[in-house]
């Protein structure tokens, strides 16, 4: 058997990209692998209206994915509908029916991956999810296979194209958050409800998966500290520029002495940081391994074709196992037995901080604020106080030396009580050059 039969659930943006890839490059794929990928079935609720040339010769088209996951004529089920409910049901049923599964569903895997992967393991089938993190960038396979001889020390990533597009517009075009978001919607980079993207939840799903693979553990998505970009203003972006820095929404996973540290938040990084030049809707991931040192991987993190490319890569890899009749070469998450690793409380995570306070122009402001920082053992690396044009309040910006989230919280609680402080203080973590 050199033909592998694919059943696709969900003919939306990514589904179309995947089908376009395997149809357009059918001969290329055969030449590279000796395998013929046959799209045997497509299930989509709107299958009647979503008809196009690529579906013409698909023998089985249905609204009912149920038929597809139980069909004896399907080898690999490709789930591209997203979401938690029916997607989970279809994947579970496909595995129960001994189908190999490929999915791009990070939200599902970040929350129910442990359950799904253990079912797949028992059934002896493979689950591919390269497309779930970083779109077209080879990433999951890099962590699982190419860097397999490494103890991974750190994964630092820009893995949400929508948030990155918005921050890029704010940084280089001076757009406000609101206009940049509106533009992202117009261009199709942001959905009508952009919550998952701008609140960092999508990034948290992805770093949950990447950190799990990297550190050989099961990261609990619910415990991953997640902070989005909705409070980032051009004022802070401009101060960051003055400091030779830029603001990015980073997803970070680090191995620490005590366990691991996994989090998503806006971050100030030097313009020399490899991630600083990753703009627009690009995604990129910096990986540090104890043997290989630093590797850096960049590409389109979303979009029909780039994501379709990753889905197709998984289908091809799993096809080889099906053809060879071998068990999956590696466990889905890339390790045999999950280690229990302590996840550092965000309050204990250490970093340098950027702080901004809006203050009245009265005597004693600097000494008041600096006094609180000193009392809480937060050491100041640099300070900047300078009036705005045409505004009464004065911004006061500090860069601190390394401190904990707890110390910063304690400072802010106290500082906010000063009568001269106007509005909400801003605290943004700073990551060292990578």
């Amino acid at each position: 058997m050199t033909k592998v039969r694919i059943g696709l659930i969900g003919y939306g943006v990514v589904g179309r990209g995947f089908v376009a890839a395997i149809k357009k490059n059918r001969a290329v794929i055969y030449d590279k692998t000796g395998i013929e990928l046959e799209l045997s079935a497509v299930a989509d609720l709107n299958i009647a209206s979503s008809y196009d040339q690529f579906l013409e010769d698909v023998p089985f088209k249905t609204r009912d994915a149920e038929e597809l996951v139980t069909s004896p004529n399907i080898d690999i089920v490709v789930e591209l509908i997203g979401g938690y409910t029916v997607a989970k049901e279809f994947i579970t049923k496909a595995i129960a029916n001994k189908k190999y599964v490929v999915t791009a569903n990070k939200a599902l895997l970040a929350q129910f991956g442990r359950e799904i992967f253990s079912q797949a393991d028992e059934a002896g089938v493979g689950v591919g999810f390269e497309a779930s993190c970083g779109g077209g960038i080879p990433l999951i396979s890099v962590l699982k296979e190419d860097l397999a001889a490494n103890n991974i020390l750190e994964v630092c990533a820009i893995i949400n194209g929508t948030a990155n597009f918005i921050l890029t517009r704010m940084t280089y075009e001076g757009a406000t958050y609101e206009t940049a978001l509106a533009e992202a919607k117009t261009l199709g980079y942001a959905e009508a409800d952009p919550t998952f993207d701008v609140e960092g939840i999508d990034s948290a799903h992805k770093i949950t998966l990447l950190s799990s693979i990297a550190f050989g553990t099961w990261v609990d998505f619910k415990k991953v500290y997640t902070e989005g970009i909705t409070k980032i203003s051009t004022v802070d972006i401009n101060f960051a520029k003055e400091l030779g820095c830029t603001i990015k929404l980073l997803a970070i996973g680090k191995r620490t002495e005590k366990g691991i540290d996994v989090r998503v938040h806006p971050t100030i990084i030097s313009l020399k940081h490899r991630l600083a030049a990753v703009n627009d809707s690009f995604n990129a991931v910096l990986v540090k391994g104890d043997i290989v040192g630093e590797t850096f991987h960049l590409g389109r993190g979303a979009g029909s074709l780039p994501t379709g490319s990753a889905v197709a890569a998984d289908v091809i890899k799993l096809s080889k196992e099906i053809v060879n009749r071998t068990a999956p070469r590696i466990p889905p998450l890339g390790f045999l037995s999950p280690k229990e690793l302590n996840l550092t409380d965000i309050k204990d995570v250490e970093s340098e901080y950027y702080l901004r306070f809006e203050t009245e122009d009265t005597p004693g402001v600097l000494s008041g604020v600096a006094g609180v920082l000193a009392k809480n053992s937060v050491s100041i690396k640099s300070a900047l106080q300078r009036p705005y044009e045409n505004e009464l309040q004065i911004p006061m910006v500090f860069l601190t030396h390394t401190t904990t989230g707890r110390q910063i919280d304690d400072c802010l609680k106290e500082i906010i009580r000063f009568p001269f402080i106007k509005g909400e203080p801003v605290a943004i973590r700073v990551e060292e050059e990578g």
Copy 2:
């Protein structure tokens, strides 16, 4: 069998890195793969003097690699001695004895890969060579597997750390070529005889392999246009800076309408080009696929541990095939049958050019040179003529629009005959932003 027995030939820089990786991370690798890598034998001409802690429990140490490639107790032979002669003999013999082979030997594979891979194919054994291009950067596997659904359109790379280190020093420290080369030698980045690195030969070996994989053909190394960095001067580096550009030694493989275009030469690229920020001894590769778009991969291209990481990754991947008793999942070069693709003559390759002429300060110079360019249909994009301080001759710099190597050659032949032209003209190809 979960134990895989490795025989290593060559305990030099990369050999030590590989052994350090599999010894230090023995438990990590087992946890990720379920496979125990046993270093069963090491052959090295200086085995007596190269003794260290990692070799202590190696059961078989010898000066004679012959014993190792024929031993029934070895599953994978790792060849890390380099060179064309004995390395080829050992690899050939290992394959004849049904051993899987891992090598970092780009010089050997670029010239004899076709023969070696076809032997391996007949014997049904796998050959891994991830470490041969880009050191620790996952690259071969990315082209062969992760981007398998793509028609690869272009591979554009900085894949020689020595040359890149030298150009970086010349660009950012103002060093001359000679002092930068001396520094590279002191730091161990350049060998006593740096010919392969600075003349682009090493890059040509690597782009021969990468292009073969990318385009599904056998690129003939001898036909790859190869030009090194020995003639690059700080004068041109400084003019490039003024133009918002930098000079890099690029290895380029492109799919064209008529076939392919593979070459190595110093190249002027915009500072916005992704490869412009790849400095020091880092390597990086920009890949363009018809489905995925652009992906970018960066890391340490050489060095004991980074290269050892890639060797170990190959050993782990091949070990899984050995354990599963499956034939290699994919052909070594990633395609079933090589296509015959026409390699464009360098004289027909089109690009923009940077030209510099040193001229006497006499009337008629600009009109003379510009006249020759016009006569040969070379269109000028921008021109710059400006006296040096304290020197009589005047540099005249042009950026041309897209033209062919042949047209430029014709111009240079004619221009050099003007009596006001001093010394050798400089012509450097310009690559568009990538």
